[in-house]
């Protein structure tokens, strides 16, 4: 389904949820939840960010989400695109790129490369943090 984002009719300050994804392409059953929860959060007018760290960064490596499809679920790429359309922000841990040997330019274009201070700051400023 397509989402057209018109979420600008709220007066109150938005709450924030940070989803930390540490699981990667080797455990595809763990890949979907942060995207689906973050998209739902955006629908609830909650500011949602998914931070990919350690093996989690493999999910946003170019071409990988297209390969993941489980059961009756759509491909991970479709679920990721739905999240992006809804306004979910994607952040990739810079240090994990070196750890996993993935070049910094090799991620889906919507994912921003950020550092450790950003993760700490996102966690401190969020109203809730969920880890996967």
């Amino acid at each position: 389904m397509s989402i057209s984002w018109k979420g600008n009719w709220m007066s109150v300050k938005k709450k924030k949820i940070l989803y930390v994804q540490t699981s990667g392409t080797d455990t595809p059953e763990r890949a979907y939840a942060p995207f689906i929860l973050a998209t739902t959060a955006a629908m609830m007018n909650v500011d949602a960010t998914v931070y990919f760290v350690i093996k989690g960064i493999t999910l946003v490596k170019k071409g990988e989400a297209e390969k993941i499809k489980i059961g009756s679920f759509p491909s991970l790429r479709e679920v990721m695109d739905q999240a992006i359309k809804a306004g979910v922000k994607l952040a990739v841990c810079e240090q994990s790129c070196g750890l996993m040997g993935i070049p910094r330019g090799d991620f889906t274009k919507e994912a921003q490369i950020v550092g450790a201070a950003t993760l700490n700051d996102l966690a401190l400023s969020a109203d809730a943090v969920l880890c996967f």
Binding site: S4, W9, M43, M44
Partner: protein
């Protein structure tokens, strides 16, 4: 007094999180003051849509159960 919906969204047969997504998108299309009727049979839908409406600060007008389905009326108030 019976509230007459301005729009109906049929989510019967859809499962989490689709009813929430569709309800949100439909609410975006409503004018302030209009009422949306949502029909759903996902067991999670009632609780999920209640949470959605609360977070969007809209008005939950009525919730009625009809067998395994639920009918939810939401008024767009902002």
């Amino acid at each position: 007094m019976k509230v007459k919906p301005d729009r109906t969204l049929d989510c019967v047969g859809l499962y989490c999180p689709e009813p929430v997504f569709k309800t949100r998108l439909e609410l975006d299309e409503l004018k302030v003051g209009e009422v949306l009727e949502v029909l759903a049979d996902d067991p999670a839908a009632e609780s999920d849509i209640r949470s959605l409406v609360k977070n969007l600060e809209q008005e939950l007008v009525d919730v009625t159960k009809e067998g395994s389905a639920v009918r939810i009326l939401i008024r767009k108030i902002r």
